[in-house]
């Protein structure tokens, strides 16, 4: 019976902790909820390989454009054909310019880069 008064403060503390709720946020990773976060990293980031022997080059919208657009709700634009041409043009530019990359980028072509490179 003499144990009961000692439990009192403990119970009070426990109740207080419960009422205050979670003391910290936990990081989340799940297949669908954080797919956009995964895509942001896996499609745009990562080690950059400084070598001539790369087939895919960062910055070129070769893949994932449709998937990202769909996730971002930009389906409307792709659906009605607004974006398709841009995509095609930037791929064509990339093909044409891959050989020239080694010799450096001129200012004029640099301007072209700004306009035609659309991810």
């Amino acid at each position: 019976m003499s144990v009961l008064p000692d439990l009192g403060p403990l119970i009070a503390l426990w109740l207080l902790a419960k009422l205050k709720g979670e003391r910290k946020m936990e990081p989340v990773r799940d297949t669908n909820g954080t797919l956009v976060d995964l895509l942001d990293r896996i499609l745009d980031k990562g080690l950059v390989i400084y070598a001539d022997v790369i087939v895919s080059v960062a910055g070129v919208p070769l893949i994932g454009v449709n998937l990202r657009a769909a996730l971002a709700g930009m389906e409307t634009m792709l659906k009605y054909g607004v974006m398709v041409d841009w995509d095609e043009k930037s791929r064509a530019w990339e093909r044409d310019n891959r050989m020239e990359k080694k010799s450096g980028v001129s200012l004029i072509r640099g301007r072209e880069v700004l306009i035609s490179r659309r991810g």
């Binding site: 001539d52 960062a58 634009m77 009605y80 398709v84 450096g104 880069v113 490179r117």
Partner: protein, 109 residues
């Protein structure tokens, strides 16, 4: 190639057109406001400007509603925002777009 049919003509091309009209309208609003703040307008001029802009707002909303292109217009404007963002990003961060990697390649050689 863009395949043109009635539906995507409406959403694609009309969406673009109305998005552009909205952007011009926004620019008009800014100019009108500047003039008003600058004190160069009389009260009745401000009144007329305000009414005209109000009518323009209503007209645009009406077209969007009647044609059902509200979402398309929003998508176009967001798309344009993203493009502008990317262009700025290329200026601020050229390495991310592959150009500095060429120069670095040259340095190594």
């Amino acid at each position: 190639m863009i395949d043109i049919d009635a539906d995507n003509l409406k959403h694609g091309v009309l969406g673009l057109v109305i998005a552009l009209v909205e952007i011009i309208r926004d620019a008009l609003k800014i100019q009108a406001f500047k003039r008003m703040e600058g004190g160069s307008l009389k009260e009745d001029e401000v009144e007329r400007l305000g009414e005209a802009l109000m009518d323009l707002d209503l007209a645009i909303e009406q077209i969007k509603q009647e044609q059902g292109i509200g979402q398309s217009v929003q998508s176009v404007r967001e798309g344009l925002d993203n493009i502008v963002d990317d262009v700025l990003d290329q200026i601020i961060n050229p390495e991310r777009w592959g150009e500095e990697s060429c120069e670095k390649q040259m340095e190594r050689v």
